[in-house]
Protein backbone atom coordinates (compact mmCIF):
# COMPACT_ATOMS: atom_id res chain seq x y z
CA UNK A 1 0.00 0.00 0.00
CA UNK A 2 1.36 3.46 -0.77
CA UNK A 3 1.81 6.10 1.87
CA UNK A 4 -1.07 8.07 0.41
CA UNK A 5 -3.60 5.30 0.58
CA UNK A 6 -2.46 4.36 4.08
CA UNK A 7 -3.12 7.93 5.17
CA UNK A 8 -6.49 7.74 3.44
CA UNK A 9 -7.42 4.61 5.37
CA UNK A 10 -6.26 6.19 8.63
CA UNK A 11 -8.38 9.24 8.03
CA UNK A 12 -11.39 7.10 7.23
CA UNK A 13 -11.02 5.12 10.45
CA UNK A 14 -10.52 8.30 12.44
CA UNK A 15 -13.58 10.03 11.00
CA UNK A 16 -15.90 7.06 11.48
CA UNK A 17 -14.56 6.40 14.97
CA UNK A 18 -14.77 10.05 15.96
CA UNK A 19 -18.40 10.30 14.85
CA UNK A 20 -19.25 7.16 16.81
CA UNK A 21 -17.43 8.13 19.99
CA UNK A 22 -18.56 11.76 19.77
CA UNK A 23 -22.19 10.71 19.51
CA UNK A 24 -21.83 8.35 22.46
CA UNK A 25 -20.28 11.16 24.52
CA UNK A 26 -22.99 13.67 23.60
CA UNK A 27 -25.72 11.09 24.29
CA UNK A 28 -24.29 10.40 27.72
CA UNK A 29 -24.04 14.07 28.56
CA UNK A 30 -27.67 14.53 27.56
CA UNK A 31 -28.70 11.43 29.47
CA UNK A 32 -27.08 12.65 32.69
CA UNK A 33 -28.05 16.27 32.17
CA UNK A 34 -30.17 16.56 35.32
CA UNK A 35 -28.49 13.90 37.45
CA UNK A 36 -27.03 15.40 40.63
CA UNK A 37 -23.65 14.54 42.14
CA UNK A 38 -20.17 15.94 41.82
CA UNK A 39 -18.86 12.87 39.98
CA UNK A 40 -21.64 13.15 37.39
CA UNK A 41 -21.00 16.86 36.86
CA UNK A 42 -17.28 16.31 36.36
CA UNK A 43 -17.93 13.31 34.06
CA UNK A 44 -20.28 15.42 31.97
CA UNK A 45 -17.71 18.18 31.63
CA UNK A 46 -15.00 15.71 30.67
CA UNK A 47 -17.23 13.84 28.22
CA UNK A 48 -18.26 17.12 26.60
CA UNK A 49 -14.59 18.04 26.17
CA UNK A 50 -13.99 14.60 24.72
CA UNK A 51 -16.77 15.27 22.22
CA UNK A 52 -14.95 18.47 21.30
CA UNK A 53 -11.86 16.32 20.80
CA UNK A 54 -13.82 14.12 18.43
CA UNK A 55 -14.87 17.18 16.45
CA UNK A 56 -11.21 18.24 16.24
CA UNK A 57 -10.29 14.79 14.97
CA UNK A 58 -13.01 14.95 12.32
CA UNK A 59 -12.01 18.42 11.18
CA UNK A 60 -8.35 17.53 11.08
CA UNK A 61 -8.93 14.27 9.21
CA UNK A 62 -11.15 15.93 6.65
CA UNK A 63 -8.50 18.55 6.11
CA UNK A 64 -10.53 21.51 7.36
CA UNK A 65 -7.93 22.43 9.96
CA UNK A 66 -4.32 21.45 10.49
CA UNK A 67 -1.42 20.78 8.23
CA UNK A 68 -2.00 17.91 5.88
CA UNK A 69 1.21 18.22 3.95
CA UNK A 70 3.49 17.30 6.77
CA UNK A 71 6.54 15.38 5.85
CA UNK A 72 6.84 12.78 8.53
CA UNK A 73 8.46 9.45 8.24
Amino acid sequence: MTEQSLAFVFRGIAIVGAILVGLIAIYQVRNDWTTPGLDIQVSKLLLALMAVGCVIVILSSTGVIGWQTRAGY
Partner: protein
Protein backbone atom coordinates in the same frame (compact mmCIF):
# COMPACT_ATOMS: atom_id res chain seq x y z
CA UNK B 1 -31.59 -14.36 66.36
CA UNK B 2 -34.13 -12.07 67.92
CA UNK B 3 -36.00 -9.35 66.17
CA UNK B 4 -34.20 -6.79 68.27
CA UNK B 5 -30.73 -7.82 67.16
CA UNK B 6 -31.86 -7.92 63.53
CA UNK B 7 -33.22 -4.43 63.87
CA UNK B 8 -29.98 -3.40 65.49
CA UNK B 9 -27.91 -4.91 62.71
CA UNK B 10 -30.12 -3.25 60.15
CA UNK B 11 -29.48 0.02 61.87
CA UNK B 12 -25.80 -0.76 61.91
CA UNK B 13 -25.84 -1.33 58.13
CA UNK B 14 -27.57 1.98 57.60
CA UNK B 15 -24.97 3.65 59.72
CA UNK B 16 -22.15 1.97 57.84
CA UNK B 17 -23.65 3.00 54.53
CA UNK B 18 -24.12 6.58 55.69
CA UNK B 19 -20.51 6.62 56.86
CA UNK B 20 -19.34 5.17 53.56
CA UNK B 21 -21.28 7.78 51.63
CA UNK B 22 -19.87 10.56 53.69
CA UNK B 23 -16.31 9.31 53.33
CA UNK B 24 -16.79 8.69 49.62
CA UNK B 25 -18.13 12.20 49.22
CA UNK B 26 -15.03 13.61 50.91
CA UNK B 27 -12.71 11.44 48.86
CA UNK B 28 -14.48 12.36 45.65
CA UNK B 29 -13.97 16.07 46.30
CA UNK B 30 -10.34 15.42 47.14
CA UNK B 31 -9.89 13.43 43.97
CA UNK B 32 -11.49 16.12 41.81
CA UNK B 33 -9.21 18.71 43.38
CA UNK B 34 -6.25 16.44 42.67
CA UNK B 35 -7.33 16.31 39.02
CA UNK B 36 -7.51 20.11 38.94
CA UNK B 37 -3.99 20.49 40.24
CA UNK B 38 -2.79 17.80 37.83
CA UNK B 39 -4.46 19.83 35.11
CA UNK B 40 -2.34 22.83 36.15
CA UNK B 41 0.78 20.70 35.71
CA UNK B 42 -0.16 19.97 32.12
CA UNK B 43 -1.29 23.56 31.55
CA UNK B 44 2.12 24.83 32.62
CA UNK B 45 3.92 22.67 30.10
CA UNK B 46 1.35 23.61 27.45
CA UNK B 47 2.06 27.25 28.26
CA UNK B 48 5.77 26.50 27.88
CA UNK B 49 5.15 24.92 24.48
CA UNK B 50 3.06 27.83 23.23
CA UNK B 51 5.59 30.31 24.59
CA UNK B 52 8.58 28.62 22.99
CA UNK B 53 6.71 28.26 19.72
CA UNK B 54 5.80 31.93 19.81
CA UNK B 55 9.39 32.94 20.57
CA UNK B 56 10.97 30.73 17.92
CA UNK B 57 12.03 32.44 14.70
CA UNK B 58 10.99 29.45 12.59
CA UNK B 59 8.58 26.69 13.44
CA UNK B 60 9.16 23.82 13.39
CA UNK B 61 12.79 24.34 14.34
CA UNK B 62 15.18 23.43 11.55
CA UNK B 63 15.82 19.74 11.21
CA UNK B 64 12.63 18.68 12.92
CA UNK B 65 9.89 16.73 11.19
CA UNK B 66 6.43 17.18 12.65
CA UNK B 67 4.60 13.96 13.54
CA UNK B 68 1.98 12.38 11.33
CA UNK B 69 -1.50 13.66 12.11
CA UNK B 70 -3.28 10.74 10.42
CA UNK B 71 -1.84 8.07 12.64
CA UNK B 72 -2.39 10.30 15.66
CA UNK B 73 -6.03 10.79 14.70
CA UNK B 74 -6.56 7.04 14.76
CA UNK B 75 -4.65 6.82 18.02
CA UNK B 76 -6.82 9.60 19.50
CA UNK B 77 -9.95 7.75 18.53
CA UNK B 78 -8.59 4.65 20.22
CA UNK B 79 -8.11 6.64 23.42
CA UNK B 80 -11.44 8.46 23.17
CA UNK B 81 -13.08 5.12 22.43
CA UNK B 82 -11.60 3.76 25.64
CA UNK B 83 -13.32 6.65 27.41
CA UNK B 84 -16.61 5.51 25.93
CA UNK B 85 -16.05 1.89 26.94
CA UNK B 86 -15.12 3.03 30.45
CA UNK B 87 -18.38 4.89 30.61
CA UNK B 88 -20.30 1.78 29.51
CA UNK B 89 -18.49 -0.25 32.13
CA UNK B 90 -19.55 2.20 34.81
CA UNK B 91 -23.18 2.23 33.62
CA UNK B 92 -23.24 -1.54 33.75
CA UNK B 93 -21.84 -1.52 37.27
CA UNK B 94 -24.54 0.85 38.39
CA UNK B 95 -27.16 -1.44 36.84
CA UNK B 96 -25.65 -4.48 38.48
CA UNK B 97 -24.68 -6.29 35.28
CA UNK B 98 -21.27 -7.27 36.48
CA UNK B 99 -20.32 -9.60 33.61
CA UNK B 100 -20.80 -6.81 31.08
CA UNK B 101 -18.96 -4.46 33.38
CA UNK B 102 -15.93 -6.75 33.29
CA UNK B 103 -16.03 -7.00 29.51
CA UNK B 104 -16.11 -3.25 29.07
CA UNK B 105 -13.32 -2.83 31.60
CA UNK B 106 -11.14 -5.29 29.71
CA UNK B 107 -11.96 -3.44 26.50
CA UNK B 108 -10.90 -0.17 28.10
CA UNK B 109 -7.62 -1.62 29.31
CA UNK B 110 -6.90 -3.12 25.89
CA UNK B 111 -7.66 0.15 24.10
CA UNK B 112 -5.44 2.04 26.56
CA UNK B 113 -2.61 -0.38 25.89
CA UNK B 114 -3.20 0.00 22.14
CA UNK B 115 -2.90 3.75 22.49
CA UNK B 116 0.41 3.40 24.31
CA UNK B 117 1.63 1.06 21.57
CA UNK B 118 0.73 3.66 18.97
CA UNK B 119 2.61 6.29 20.93
CA UNK B 120 5.60 4.01 21.20
CA UNK B 121 5.56 3.49 17.42
CA UNK B 122 5.43 7.23 16.93
CA UNK B 123 8.32 7.82 19.34
CA UNK B 124 10.55 5.45 17.42
CA UNK B 125 9.66 6.87 14.02
CA UNK B 126 9.37 10.62 14.55
CA UNK B 127 12.09 12.76 13.05
CA UNK B 128 12.86 14.66 16.28
CA UNK B 129 14.65 14.02 19.53
CA UNK B 130 13.81 15.03 23.08
CA UNK B 131 17.02 17.00 23.49
CA UNK B 132 17.41 18.23 19.94
CA UNK B 133 14.96 21.11 19.75
CA UNK B 134 12.36 23.03 21.69
CA UNK B 135 9.69 21.18 19.73
CA UNK B 136 11.16 17.89 20.84
CA UNK B 137 11.43 19.11 24.42
CA UNK B 138 7.77 20.10 24.57
CA UNK B 139 6.49 17.17 22.52
CA UNK B 140 8.28 14.41 24.38
CA UNK B 141 7.78 15.96 27.81
CA UNK B 142 4.06 16.52 27.37
CA UNK B 143 3.20 13.32 25.54
CA UNK B 144 5.56 11.44 27.82
CA UNK B 145 3.82 12.81 30.89
CA UNK B 146 0.49 11.96 29.32
CA UNK B 147 1.69 8.48 28.41
CA UNK B 148 2.82 8.02 31.98
CA UNK B 149 -0.64 9.05 33.15
CA UNK B 150 -2.21 6.52 30.74
CA UNK B 151 0.14 3.86 32.01
CA UNK B 152 -0.78 4.65 35.61
CA UNK B 153 -4.42 4.64 34.55
CA UNK B 154 -4.08 1.14 33.11
CA UNK B 155 -2.53 -0.07 36.35
CA UNK B 156 -5.32 1.71 38.24
CA UNK B 157 -8.00 -0.01 36.13
CA UNK B 158 -6.37 -3.42 36.52
CA UNK B 159 -6.30 -2.96 40.28
CA UNK B 160 -9.95 -1.89 40.24
CA UNK B 161 -10.94 -4.90 38.12
CA UNK B 162 -9.12 -7.15 40.55
CA UNK B 163 -10.86 -5.46 43.47
CA UNK B 164 -14.28 -6.02 41.92
CA UNK B 165 -13.40 -9.68 41.40
CA UNK B 166 -12.54 -10.03 45.08
CA UNK B 167 -15.73 -8.24 46.10
CA UNK B 168 -14.37 -4.98 47.49
CA UNK B 169 -17.20 -2.97 45.96
CA UNK B 170 -20.93 -3.52 45.82
CA UNK B 171 -23.83 -1.84 44.08
CA UNK B 172 -23.97 0.99 46.60
CA UNK B 173 -20.35 1.30 47.65
CA UNK B 174 -18.01 1.75 44.72
CA UNK B 175 -16.00 4.92 45.21
CA UNK B 176 -12.84 3.42 43.69
CA UNK B 177 -14.65 2.83 40.41
CA UNK B 178 -15.90 6.43 40.33
CA UNK B 179 -12.36 7.68 40.84
CA UNK B 180 -11.06 5.34 38.16
CA UNK B 181 -13.66 6.56 35.67
CA UNK B 182 -12.97 10.20 36.36
CA UNK B 183 -9.23 9.65 36.08
CA UNK B 184 -9.62 7.87 32.78
CA UNK B 185 -11.87 10.58 31.34
CA UNK B 186 -9.40 13.18 32.58
CA UNK B 187 -6.54 11.47 30.75
CA UNK B 188 -8.67 11.42 27.59
CA UNK B 189 -9.40 15.11 27.86
CA UNK B 190 -5.74 16.01 28.34
CA UNK B 191 -5.12 14.21 25.07
CA UNK B 192 -7.74 16.38 23.32
CA UNK B 193 -5.53 19.40 24.03
CA UNK B 194 -2.29 17.63 23.21
CA UNK B 195 -3.69 16.35 19.91
CA UNK B 196 -4.79 19.82 18.92
CA UNK B 197 -1.50 21.44 19.92
CA UNK B 198 0.91 18.95 18.40
CA UNK B 199 -0.92 17.51 15.41
CA UNK B 200 -3.35 20.15 14.26
CA UNK B 201 -2.10 23.61 15.21
Amino acid sequence: MTAATIAHEGHHDDHALALYREVADIRLLGFVLFLISDCVLFSSFIFAYIYMRDAAPVWPPTGVGLPDANLAAVNSIILFGSGATMHFAMENWKHGTEIKFRRWMVATIVLGALFLTGQGWEYTHINATWWGSTFGAAFFTLTGMHGFHVFCGIIFLIVLLNQTLSGVYNKKQYFGLVAGTLYWHFVDVIWVFLFFLFYVW
